[in-house]
């Protein structure tokens, strides 16, 4: 809190006494009636700044609940305590710092009597009956319900084709301006293709269209482009501008987002399928909350994942989450409401009726989002997978059958056999009651409570432990090496890293209690639960003393090894077994066992590390005729793990199964709602570290309320409200943006601001008519496209009319079409398309076309690695170019691609020398020039072997070049300029054949075309790709 606030508090405390005394004198007076006495004063003196249209300081006084919540500074009325009520301090002008309300020049100060009325009213409990709320509706145009306007009458009945034309023509007639004539056929067709697809009309389509004068030729062309899958790419990219789509996180680390494209595909597919815009909206905003949400619905919520994400070291995670939530709130406001709600992040909106509090009420809808990546194979991937999976299952079937057959036909007999012959193979490990342990080089041993031995004392690099036990009979022994806290890294070895190396194990026996010579016993079989690579347990019983058993890197846990004798040993006196554990690791550093335990078995069958499991043992102990089904099952399962033939069949099946096709790994970025909602707060001055009062989740007062499906409103309610009948903004804002894409300027020029600072619509009835049509025709975007594309307004010529440059410089009257350079991605697409290099594949992961190698090195520590795509992926449409936020593809940026850090409703259209250099010299564009020449020379082949001096052929080719690139034929004067250029280049290149060879590049031209001629055509192709007209929609 700053000094000023402290001062203020002091002053207020000072006043309190005085005020309460004053208040006391009014106690006996009559009740003040709100409607009769207070509300009229509010209306007269306060509503101009504190009602529906304007809420200075976040305060609204035309609505009881809002008034009682107060403004940005908190509550203004404390019931029965006029002295503590900010309202009274302000209207009485008691606080010098805050001044008096209403402020000078904004209204007449209240009289003493009026102030007394307020004081009395508050003292009496500030009784404000709810039913008296006036709630003046906002008068701002965009908040009014959408009405279907009547079509205006026009004088010229022949010009118009659609309702759109009636509205525009009426405006023009009012001003005495005639519309422009229809554009040339070539221009019209090219405009249609550029606007709807962002591609050129193929030359054969253009040729046919130029020659076809049938009335319905254009309508047919409209239907053709609307049915093309490239429509989804073109209009999807417009949507991605709004959705701030990118393929990386942004900020310093700027990590790639390998799954981001899945959302882009969703957008493209949804548009191509003409998904109704209400559904399109709901799925993106809250697809995860829809009942039984499908994968595609969840993919749609990837919309929310396009925010920036900061992974720089030391980042405050909560700060980053708040930033994302703010971005989600603001983006929602921009796209669907056309409002700059972000202004209210720090304070109540200066111009629009959105308070600081209301901002955080809206923010709360997005405050419970949690980010989640989901498995999201595309439809194609799923189909392909189903196909290969089916094939695999067929090839896999025999393996499954083999297992089944073996299990059914062979296994029961084998089990019978095993039970009769190997019944005894169940065994247990027993720790011998008497064990003696000694060492050769000084190691001492401590016996622990679990019968294990802990090595202590000297730890020599060469050591032998000797263990002696007595048992009635012995068929093998088990060595357990155990971890212990006293050992390095908890052991089990005494080496620094916890390892040991058991280089040699020997076993000797004699009759117990005698002094007979020990006889060496042959260890026939070893097994360990784990062996270090190259240090298998069998190496501890071979003849090589340099190798042995070790357990790196599995330190800190127990391991077991068993050593089974060739034959079980049994003496009447019992068996004395002496085991020697040699540990002579050649490195010279001690590698001795730290803690161990010895147990023995007397079972003649195959020993296992854990012995026969208890349940198997007890089942086996029962007579076979007495065993129940479960016990039989236990035995069978145990037997299966010991039957090598069965294991082989199973192994074969497993190995084949491992070759099964992998389910598609494609993922998508998506969101879910956290289970316990966060309480929302106002962030004072937009700072999340200084929370103000708590807020409820809710929409804006100036608009119809967001209604909950159940008790509490959530994001899905907001989404459904967005496209509900009584929301006037969504349809208007959306229609306006579509209009803007076609005519350069929206019917509302400020397409991102429908608030009071925004411009008024140039044709408000047209906007409402289209908005109404949009909703009543099931929110079909293609329907709106069709209406616009077939209108006479759209079909006008775009030439600037000098008689209107003064009166209508920005063409708001729509007396002509709009002429504009195409967007960055489309500049690239057109060059690739003209030269027939373009890959027409729709959708899929982002690609990395060639770019200068140093460019990515401008990012932090080269965080953005750019490995150039190969094959067709070099020639994909611009919207598929991997968008690395901190080093975006230079060509795209040169042509004003948005930086994708925030929602952009309108791109700028700069016109710079760097663009000229890009089109001239960028390697992609140069390759296009080469291929364009090749295309023209091969698609218009010579009819005889000699091309030289063939003027007709040259003319045909020049015409074809123009047709391909510009959808029209050259004028006479253009033709002459081009011929002159070709001649001049040809003679220069003939003089410099090396230049000619370099220019044509690696791809061979038809043999009949001389290299200098080919090179001259490449140069000409380069010129045409650089024409203003080429990259312009006219």
């Amino acid at each position: 809190m700053n000094k000023r606030h402290c001062l203020l508090t002091g002053i207020i405390i000072g006043f309190t006494a005085t005020l309460n005394v004053l208040a006391a004198s009014h106690e006996d007076e009559d009740q003040v009636d709100f409607v009769d006495s207070i509300q009229p004063i509010l209306k007269r003196s306060c509503y101009s700044c504190h009602a529906a249209d304007k809420q200075e300081g976040g305060l609204r006084l035309d609505h009881r609940d809002s008034a009682m919540i107060g403004g940005d500074s908190g509550p203004i009325v404390v019931k029965q305590r006029p002295a503590d009520s900010l309202m009274l301090q302000l209207i009485a002008g008691l606080d010098d710092d805050r001044g008096r309300m209403p402020p000078e020049g904004e209204g007449t100060p209240l009289t003493k009597q009026q102030i007394d009325l307020f004081r009395q009213w508050i003292q009496q409990g500030a009784n404000w009956p709810e039913t008296t709320d006036v709630v003046l509706p906002s008068s701002h145009w965009s908040f009014q319900p959408i009405q279907l306007p009547e079509l205006p009458t026009v004088k010229n009945k022949r010009w118009g084709r659609t309702a759109i034309d009636r509205f525009v023509l009426a405006g023009l007639e009012e001003r005495g301006v005639a519309p422009s004539p229809e554009a040339n056929r070539g221009t019209l067709l090219r405009r249609l293709y550029l606007d709807v697809l962002g591609l050129l009309p193929p030359p054969n389509v253009a040729r046919e269209f130029l020659a076809n004068t049938r009335e319905d030729a254009y309508r047919i062309a409209v239907e053709r482009v609307l049915a093309s899958n490239h429509y989804g790419e073109r209009w999807g990219r417009h949507w991605l501008d709004l959705a701030r789509y990118a393929d990386s996180d942004g900020y310093e680390k700027d990590r790639p987002r390998p799954h981001a494209w899945r959302y882009r595909d969703w957008v493209i597919n949804a548009l191509n399928a003409d998904m109704p815009f209400d559904q399109f909206t709901v799925e993106q905003l809250a697809g995860d909350l829809l009942p039984d949400a499908s994968v595609e619905m969840k993919v749609a919520t990837g919309f929310h994942r396009n925010t920036l994400h900061n992974t720089e070291g030391g980042t405050d995670k909560e700060e980053d989450r708040v930033k994302k939530t703010v971005d989600r709130t603001n983006t929602f406001g921009s796209i669907w409401m056309g409002l700059t709600v972000g202004c209210s992040q720090c304070h109540s909106h200066k111009y629009d009726p959105i308070s600081h509090r209301e901002y955080y009420q809206l923010y709360s809808f997005f405050n419970d989002i949690s980010e989640q990546d989901i498995a999201a194979p595309t439809v194609t991937e799923q189909l392909e997978f189903a196909e290969t999976e089916k094939e695999f299952q067929q090839s896999h079937q025999p393996f499954v059958v083999a297992v089944q057959q073996y299990t059914a036909n062979v296994l029961p007999m084998a089990l019978e056999n095993w039970l009769t012959t190997e019944r005894a193979s169940r065994h247990t490990w027993v720790v011998p009651p008497s064990v003696a342990v000694s060492s050769k080089h000084g190691t001492t041993f401590k016996k622990l409570a679990d019968a294990s031995w802990l090595a202590e004392g000297p730890n020599e690099s060469s050591e032998i432990y000797t263990i002696t036990v007595d048992m009635p009979s012995i068929s093998g022994f088990r060595l357990e090496v155990l971890p212990d806290d006293s050992l390095p890294v908890k052991g089990p070895g005494r080496a620094d890293n916890g390892n040991f190396v058991l280089t040699m194990v020997t076993a000797e026996v004699r009759r117990a209690g005698t002094e007979d010579e020990f006889q060496k016993v042959l260890i026939a079989r070893t097994q360990a639960d784990f062996s270090q690579q190259n240090w298998q347990v069998e190496k501890s019983v071979n003849t090589n003393v340099d190798d042995g058993w070790a357990v790196s890197p599995q330190f800190g846990k127990s391991h077991q090894a068993l050593f089974q004798f060739a034959n079980g040993i049994q003496f009447a006196e019992g068996v004395e077994l002496r085991i020697q554990l040699e540990q002579k690791y050649a490195s010279g550093r001690a590698h001795n066992i730290g803690r161990f335990r010895i147990s023995t078995s007397e079972n003649d069958g195959e020993l296992t590390l854990q012995g026969t499991p208890a349940n198997v043992g007890s089942a086996l102990a029962i007579q076979s005729s007495e065993r129940n089904a479960k016990q039989q099952q236990v035995i069978m399962e145990y037997f299966k793990t010991h039957n090598t033939e069965y294991l082989a069949v199973v192994k074969a099946e497993r190995e084949h199964a491992a070759q099964a096709p992998k389910a598609p790994a494609t993922k998508a970025q998506s969101v879910v709602e956290i289970s316990t909602p966060r309480q929302g707060y106002i962030h004072l001055r937009g700072n999340f570290l200084t929370p103000g009062s708590a807020v409820e989740t809710s929409g804006f007062m100036v608009l119809p309320p967001v209604k909950p499906r159940e008790e509490q409103v959530d994001r899905l309610d907001l989404a459904q409200w967005t496209v509900s009948e009584d929301n006037p903004l969504t349809a208007r804002v959306t229609i306006n943006r579509i209009w803007q894409r076609y005519f350069g300027v929206g019917l509302v020029a400020t397409s991102d601001d429908f608030g009071k600072q925004g411009e008024l619509p140039s044709h408000s009835d047209l906007l409402d008519w289209l908005a109404h049509e949009f909703r009543s025709q099931g929110w079909s975007l293609k329907h709106i496209h069709r209406l616009i594309l077939t209108s006479s307004v759209y079909r006008q010529a775009s030439a600037t009319r000098s008689e209107l440059t003064e009166s209508d410089p920005d063409n708001r009257w729509l007396a002509r079409q709009h002429r504009a350079r195409v967007e960055a991605e489309i500049v690239r697409d057109l060059a690739l398309d003209a030269s027939a290099l373009l890959s027409h594949r729709v959708g899929g992961p982002s690609v990395k076309p060639p770019q200068p190698s140093e460019y990515a090195s401008l990012t932090y520590a080269n965080s953005a690695q750019w490995s150039t795509s190969s094959g067709d992926d070099k020639y994909r449409r611009g919207l598929y170019t991997f968008f690395q936020r901190t080093s975006p593809y230079p060509m795209l940026m040169a042509f004003d691609s948005p930086d994708s850090t925030q929602c952009v409703t309108q791109r700028s259209h700069s016109n710079t020398p760097l663009q000229a250099l890009t089109l001239w010299n960028d390697r992609v564009f140069h390759e296009c020039a080469q291929r364009l020449a090749l295309r023209v020379l091969t698609e218009v082949p010579s009819d005889n072997s000699s091309e030289k001096g063939n003027e007709v052929l040259r003319r045909t080719r020049i015409k074809y070049l123009f047709l391909t690139c510009l959808s029209r034929y050259p004028t006479d004067s253009e033709y002459l300029s081009v011929v002159k250029y070709l001649d001049s280049q040809l003679s220069q290149l003939t003089e410099n054949p090396k230049n000619a060879e370099t220019i044509i590049g690696e791809r061979p031209f038809p043999q009949v075309v001389a290299t200098p001629t080919a090179a001259a055509w490449v140069a000409l192709g380069r010129v045409v790709l650089n024409l203003d007209e080429f990259i312009t929609k006219e």
Binding site: Y251, E252, D254, N310, E312, G314, D316, S334, C343, D752, D753, G755, Q757, G758, A799, T800, S802, P809, R819, A820, R821, E854, Y855, S857, L858, T859, Y860, A861, A864, T886, P888, M893, A894, D899, T901, Q902, S908, H909, S910, N911, T912, P913, L914, A916, L917, T918, N921, R923, S973, E974, S977, Y981, Q988, N995, T998, V1023, N1026, L1027, D1028, E1029
Partner: protein
């Protein structure tokens, strides 16, 4: 209110020049040779449209700006702000009330201790400015330099803080300082871009967002001149096209564009013709610019263009040849402003010394010292310093505390510190030979004349003749300015 006086400079100029150009274009541009048309200064300026010269609000003292950006943030207490008491208190822990309120990127508060600088500080110039022993050359310019020791910023991670320094807010999407100046004043050159970026070593956290034009058209974006290969991306023609073919091609492009212009009457076509002319001129001018053969050996030596690279390990200083590259960049900056370029940014991005501070900062400071001082000296000798503002700054300071990040055995570096840092400026109307502002005994926070980044920008705009409240561009319902919601001109800095 302010709103009414707001001067939407560029918007007004754009529509005006467009109309004028339209008139001239319609009256027989077709017959005029382009060279004739653009040779005329007036016509050239007029037809440059978005880059046409524009008046500032009042008479400027600075016309051009060179911004040496030391991304990663150099330590103020080791370079510019001597703190003997910090040295005395070396090893002590910080009073808790100081650390309670703050956030650190990496420091663990519980065990953090103060770390004094190992550097010696000397007094330089008549003004007796104290600088560390690594900066003797810059010291020799002390009387031309204003050293600000009381900077502070709002962001403590690199990327947001760099955006704060370059665009005025710690978020994406706003135009950078150079873009604002070009937007406000237009371009004085018709053969080079008006805003140029030169880089030595590795890239910065902010990457291109440090010289972005934000929501302004890309006309105002910084153009990267490259250290190797062609000086500007796509400057060179594809192999095989000689000068004459390029000229023929340009002529045909413009010829066909002019015919279209006559039909369509769209001034955008005239701008396109002009852009191609400028691109063609840039093809000649840029190689000339980067060709240093016309510079005397005295000048080359002054900047240290051929000085030897010290031995170094690994990635110190940001990569190979940074000494020579940075020297060359400083010299190129002078050559650029000589040719009328409005803004030059010199990036060097290896000042994030979380560890091994003494060795790293010594290496970097020696890289910086000679060429940066040479730039000031050279500009002065040539009479260019009066109108050229030179700035040398990072995005924040570094903690007086040693960095005890988990796992580090000892404190050898410093963490991010947004509460105080130093930068210096020279020329362009700056009052040299003074230190502005003061930090407390340990360099934690300003105690006198605190200068926020918005104030710093307000002051720069003032030097260029702009009231920072009024250099605005409408975007999303707001009149956006470089100084965002703040900014106060630092009068002390102005000569």
């Amino acid at each position: 209110m302010q709103q009414i006086q707001t001067m939407k400079v560029r918007a007004a100029i754009e529509s005006q020049t467009r109309r004028e150009f339209f008139t001239s274009a319609a009256s027989g541009l077709g017959g005029l040779a382009l060279s004739q048309l653009f040779a005329d200064e007036g016509a050239g300026a007029q037809s440059r449209g978005a880059l046409a010269l524009a008046p500032s609000h009042f008479a400027p003292t600075a016309k051009r700006c060179i911004f040496i950006f030391l991304a990663g943030a150099p330590s103020h207490v080791d370079l510019y702000d001597p703190k003997p008491i910090l040295v005395e208190k070396n090893g002590e822990s910080l009073p808790q009330e100081l650390t309670d309120k703050v956030r650190f990127a990496f420091i663990k508060k519980e065990s953090a201790i103060l770390m004094g600088s190992k550097r010696k500080f000397h007094r330089y110039g008549e003004c007796q400015m104290e600088l560390c022993d690594l900066l003797p050359h810059i010291g020799s310019c002390a009387d031309d330099i204003a050293l600000v020791r009381s900077m502070h910023t709002d962001a403590f991670n690199h990327h947001p803080a760099q955006l704060m320094m370059t665009t005025g807010v710690p978020r994406f999407g706003r135009p950078s300082l150079g873009s604002w100046l070009t937007y406000g004043l237009g371009s004085e050159t018709n053969e080079l871009p008006s805003y140029v970026v030169l880089s030595a070593g590795r890239g910065s956290s902010g990457g291109v967002s440090n010289w972005t034009s934000g929501f302004l058209p890309s006309t105002y974006e910084g153009v990267v001149f490259r250290g190797e290969g062609e000086p500007v991306l796509n400057l060179n023609n594809p192999l095989g096209y000689d000068q004459r073919m390029q000229k023929d091609s340009l002529d045909l492009i413009n010829q066909l564009n002019r015919e279209r212009l006559e039909k369509q009457n769209d001034t955008e076509i005239a701008s396109r013709i002009n852009a191609y002319e400028l691109a063609f001129r840039m093809q000649q001018a840029a190689p000339e610019l980067t060709d240093l053969s016309s510079e005397t050996s005295a000048t080359l030596d002054l900047y240290g263009v051929t000085r030897s690279e010290p031995k170094k390990n690994s990635f110190r200083g940001g990569g190979a040849n940074v000494y020579q590259q940075f020297s060359k960049n400083c010299l190129l900056a002078r050559r650029l402003v000589e040719r009328g370029v409005r803004c030059v940014t010199l990036m060097h991005a290896s000042w994030d010394h979380h560890s091994n501070l003494d060795a790293e900062i010594s290496y970097n400071a020696r890289m910086l010292d000679q060429p940066a001082a040479a730039l000031v000296t050279d500009l002065k000798q040539r009479g260019l310093l009066d109108e050229t503002l030179v700035i040398c700054a990072g995005e924040f300071g570094r903690t007086p505390l040693g960095e005890n990040r988990g796992g580090n055995k000892q404190n050898t570096g410093r963490d991010h510190h947004p509460y105080a840092y130093s930068l210096w400026m020279a020329g362009g109307g700056i009052r040299g030979g003074q230190v502005v502002g003061k930090t407390d005994d340990i360099g934690w926070a300003p105690v006198e004349d605190a200068v926020h980044v918005n104030d710093f920008h307000a002051t720069i705009l003032h030097l260029f003749g702009f009231d920072h409240h009024r250099l605005v561009h409408p975007f999303k319902g707001l009149d956006v300015r470089l100084t965002d919601q703040g900014g106060k001109v630092v009068e002390k800095l102005i000569g």
